[in-house]
């Protein structure tokens, strides 16, 4: 790897401009800027230091220094970003969690954060969670995280924010190879090649990752995480058609094969079920950028993404099919975006598009389609010699099954001098009921409960009753007619300040989100004939989340830097608070059986949220010797897991998972001009929690051998 690359200042913190960064993130705009460029916050290029909404930037350099091949491991090292398990997945008692993990931001579940790849939203969420393992890290240029309601630009799902994973853009000829080996017989190999021939840029990427998985509970048959093989590939071509027209075509694939092997109960006797899950994702993206006038450009985009998942298990002895599921979701998304800049004065962005989604899954009632038409507009003004930035924008979404939804956002940033920046933003977010809320038809064969979507509930209950699968005497008349679900909607604000000098950067933020019409699972008042419950979805709740976030970084000297972050979070259910203040909520001590009223003080909040979370990082980097070491400590404070005292809320320490630390260390050394060797250990303390955090594998070691050859582009 060329030393020039190593000169890039590492962006451990997100806040303000790195001091030495010289990378040309985009070769056609803002050349020579010393400030990294981000695109997610405003849907157009901005200097990171100028964004008015809270934005975290994770650079390729930082990703490389962690040595991690998993996007979720990288994300969780940032303040206010927590990797959480699907509660449905943890209910499987140490069995492999098919739902995976997602990202919790601002105290909201993973379903409320839009996951974009090169600006386009991926589909194929299972129980609201998009498996981040679908995205390989090897060709990521940068990850941008925007916190706070972003529906004004991105529509549904962007209620808590947006994570935009941007892949590399060809700038010059570069070949990178990586061989990765880690504990649990994990092997990874990556080849990445970029080049630019005259007016054609090309990026090719191929990655294979396999692992034997791990077993945290030897007493239980099967592994906690089963073995898998993943393949990822991408081909991106950028063609300069003329001086004012550029075409981008990007093709991506992800294929995964995961073994399934666990014990089940078959005809009241234990039996072994074996099979595998295959996942496949294909996406195609085209963008035509047309610079109509020096400061006006139009983008024509089409995005297609298809995700399929097929899973089965057979009984080991008889080869009888015990369970089989298939899931096929696709989206076609045409969009036109206009961008008009008045230099030093304003930037205007507007767009119109459509989202055509299709789902066909064994767990859903038939093939279903949804179409959304949307328009968005945003203007950004620069005032007072660019010290003041004002942003106002809004988006309209019309989906086939609900009325037009309006999501406005306003933001302001004030930079009185080069050190300080003050920001304030407020926005309305929404999340449309998704396919699962409407059409899910899921029977858990291992445990025996049912989860039915709102729109298919009536028909499915009638069918269950006819088959004698409902408890005798169940009255289903009230469920025959579908009451349509409403979109969940939120209002959120963030106020922040940041300070930065050559040695110190620091930022503070305060945020609050109020969400209403929250769609949640509820149990029907009758059971299946096996006695286990039937769940469905309805607009139940209103909750709020609020908190404080702080980040600081100190550049000790040329080699050492130190950083830390902390988030304080409260996430509470307003109905629970009302019940408590009305004296209607009781608790019964599971030991003494004393029943008492719940007080507001003892109500901890929504399950799965930590009040305290923190991270600390040490980086040592010596450009002369080509050595670096990067130590990260991540703390997640105690969080509610399950009720034990008879009120279904988290209000007792016995209902919580204790806080834990994850310590990770990676170190790399340049061996020659092209070779770099990296070793690392993750989860140094060997923390595991098989029931509640089955995604944490315990202490693992890895080694990476990187080969990188780069030529400077001649044009």
């Amino acid at each position: 790897m060329r030393k020039k690359n190593l000169l890039f200042f590492i962006l451990v913190l997100n806040i303000t401009a790195p001091i030495f960064a010289q990378q040309k993130f985009f070769n056609d705009t803002l050349l020579g800027s010393s400030d990294p460029i981000v695109v997610t916050a405003n849907r157009s290029e901005r200097k990171l230091s100028n964004t008015a909404v809270p934005t975290i930037l994770i650079s390729k350099n930082t990703i490389n220094k962690t040595g991690s091949l998993r996007v979720q491991d990288i994300l969780q090292e940032y303040t206010g970003v927590t990797v959480v398990n699907s509660t449905l997945g943890t209910s499987l008692n140490g069995y492999p969690n098919p739902f995976g993990q997602g990202v919790q931001m601002l105290g909201l579940d993973p379903a409320y954060t839009a996951i974009l790849l090169d600006g386009e939203p991926l589909v194929g969420r299972n129980a609201g969670i998009l498996k981040l393992g679908r995205i390989a890290t090897g060709n990521i240029k940068q990850i941008e995280i925007v916190k706070g309601p972003s529906s004004s630009l991105y529509g549904s799902e962007a209620m808590a924010g947006v994570i935009n994973i941007l892949t590399e853009t060809p700038v010059s000829e570069k070949l990178s190879l990586q061989l990765h080996h880690a504990s649990n017989n994990t092997w990874g190999s990556t080849i990445s090649y970029t080049n630019k021939y005259h007016k054609t840029g090309i990026q090719f990427f191929l990655n294979r990752l396999s692992s034997n998985g791990y077993d945290l509970n030897p007493l239980l048959y099967g592994k906690t995480a089963d073995s898998f093989k993943d393949w990822n590939g991408q081909l991106k071509i950028i063609q300069e058609i003329s001086n004012n027209m550029q075409l981008l075509v990007s093709l991506r694939n992800h294929d995964s094969h995961q073994d399934n092997n666990y014990q089940i109960l078959y005809q009241n006797a234990p039996a072994i079920a074996k099979g595998f899950t295959t996942e496949a994702e294909r996406s195609a993206y085209t963008q035509l950028k047309w610079i109509i006038a020096p400061n006006t450009r139009i983008y024509f985009r089409t995005f297609f993404d298809q995700y399929t998942n097929h899973s089965f298990v057979n009984l080991e002895n008889t080869n009888i099919r015990f369970d089989e599921t298939s899931f096929n979701q696709s989206v076609v998304k045409p969009e036109i975006q206009l961008e008009k800049t008045v230099p030093e004065k304003s930037v205007y962005v507007a767009g119109i598009g459509a989202n055509l989604e299709m789902i066909n899954a064994s767990r859903y009632a038939g093939k279903q389609q949804l179409a959304t038409l949307y328009i968005f507009t945003q203007k950004e003004w620069y005032l007072l010699q660019k010290k003041l930035t004002l942003i106002a924008g809004a988006r309209l979404d019309k989906r086939t099954d609900f009325n037009i939804h309006l999501s406005p956002r306003i933001a302001v940033a004030y930079k009185p001098n080069s050190s300080w920046k003050f920001t304030a933003s407020a926005g309305w977010g929404f999340k449309a009921p998704d396919f699962r809320h409407m059409y899910l038809n899921f029977y858990n064969a291992q445990i025996g409960y049912s989860l039915l979507g709102n729109n298919s509930l009536g028909a499915e209950l009638q069918s269950l009753q006819k088959q004698g699968l409902l408890q005798t005497g169940a009255v289903i008349t009230n469920y025959r007619t579908t009451i349509p679900l409403l979109p969940e909607s939120s209002f959120g604000w963030h106020v922040g300040a940041s300070y930065h000098t050559k040695k110190i950067t620091a930022q503070w933020g305060v945020f609050r989100n109020d969400i209403k019409n929250l769609i949640d699972v509820y149990a029907l008042p009758f059971n299946r004939s096996n006695g286990l419950p039937i769940y469905s979805y309805k607009n139940i709740g209103s909750v709020y989340t609020e908190g404080i976030e702080m980040d600081a970084k100190y550049q000790i000297n040329q080699h050492w830097s130190l950083s830390g972050g902390y988030q304080f979070l409260l996430a509470k259910d307003k109905q629970v608070l009302a019940q408590i203040s009305n004296g209607q909520l009781y608790k019964r001590d599971p030991i003494t059986y004393q029943t008492t009223l719940v007080s507001t003080q003892t109500y901890f909040g929504l399950a799965n949220r930590s009040m305290h979370s923190a991270n600390g990082k040490f980086l040592y980097e010596n450009l002369t010797t080509g050595f670096d070491a990067y130590f990260r400590a991540i703390y997640r404070g105690k969080f509610g897991f399950m009720d034990v005292n008879g009120n279904n809320i988290i209000d007792d320490n016995r209902e919580m998972t204790p806080g834990y630390w994850l310590l990770n260390l990676a170190s790399s050394k340049a061996i020659s001009k092209a070779f770099r060797l990296q070793i690392g250990v993750e989860d140094i303390l060997n923390y595991t929690n098989v029931l509640q955090l089955p995604n944490i594998a315990g202490r693992t070691f890895f080694i990476n051998i990187n080969y990188s050859l780069q030529h400077n582009s001649t044009n």
């Binding site: 449905l88 943890t90 209910s91 008692n93 109960l265 009241n268 006797a269 234990p270 445990i447 409960y449 408890q471 005798t472 005497g473 169940a474 009255v475 149990a523 029907l524 008042p525 009758f526 059971n527 004939s529 096996n530 006695g531 286990l532 419950p533 209607q584 909520l585 009781y586 608790k587 019964r588 599971p590 059986y593 029943t595 008492t596 009223l597 897991f641 399950m642 009720d643 034990v644 005292n645 008879g646 009120n647 279904n648 029931l691």
Partner: protein, 190 residues
């Protein structure tokens, strides 16, 4: 004779409450008991019948009598009356703290109107935990029963519902632990 005794006791209570003299504490003849009842974890096996007055399980052969007040299996409660038995049992579920709710409601007792419409709705008294599969009784739910004879009142709260330790994969029994007071004098006061 019994009625006179009750009046005497009630009067004694009244006076003891008003007179702060050294009157010996009057023994209230209320049956107060904490019971553990082992119940079939099956929606097809037989109900376990219970009599509040006798604090005892009633044999299944007496299912057609008014000897029992409630029947339990799985998470289903039946009351001896209407669709479920020859008696006149009913229930009124109240929210509050057991020790502070001292009067049974005058009216509003639900009965098992049909096999499919039981007085105590399944799921009305517990939260099911998908992780542990536990049926956790909701705290602060107090059951006021009218007994099978239609003339006496009981207040009851569930303390815990646990699986009986079992070998193999399927639990066979649930143990209901509950606390109750039976007022033998026929009043609604506890």
């Amino acid at each position: 004779m019994k009625i006179q005794l009750t009046i005497f006791v009630a009067a004694g209570l009244f006076f003891s409450a008003c007179n702060k003299t050294d009157v010996a504490p009057v023994v209230v003849p209320i049956v107060t008991s904490t019971q553990s009842l082992t119940v079939n974890f099956s929606s097809t096996k037989s109900f376990i019948f219970f009599s509040f007055k006798d604090s005892a399980v009633v044999a299944n052969t007496d299912s057609a009598t008014t000897k029992w007040d409630i029947g339990l299996r799985y998470t289903t409660f039946i009351l001896n009356g209407n669709a479920s038995g020859p008696g006149n049992a009913g229930v009124s579920m109240q929210d509050g703290i057991f020790s502070s709710l001292n009067t049974a409601p005058a009216t509003g007792y639900a009965v098992d109107t049909s096999r499919s419409n039981l007085a105590i709705k399944d799921g009305s008294w517990y939260d099911y935990n998908t992780t542990t599969h536990a049926f956790i009784p909701k705290a602060g739910k107090v059951f006021f029963f009218r007994t099978a004879d239609g003339a006496h009142y009981v207040k009851m709260q569930l303390l815990s519902v646990d699986y009986l330790p079992f070998v193999g994969q399927v639990p066979l029994s649930l143990v209901y632990k509950f606390q109750y007071s039976y007022q033998p004098n026929g009043t609604k006061n506890f």
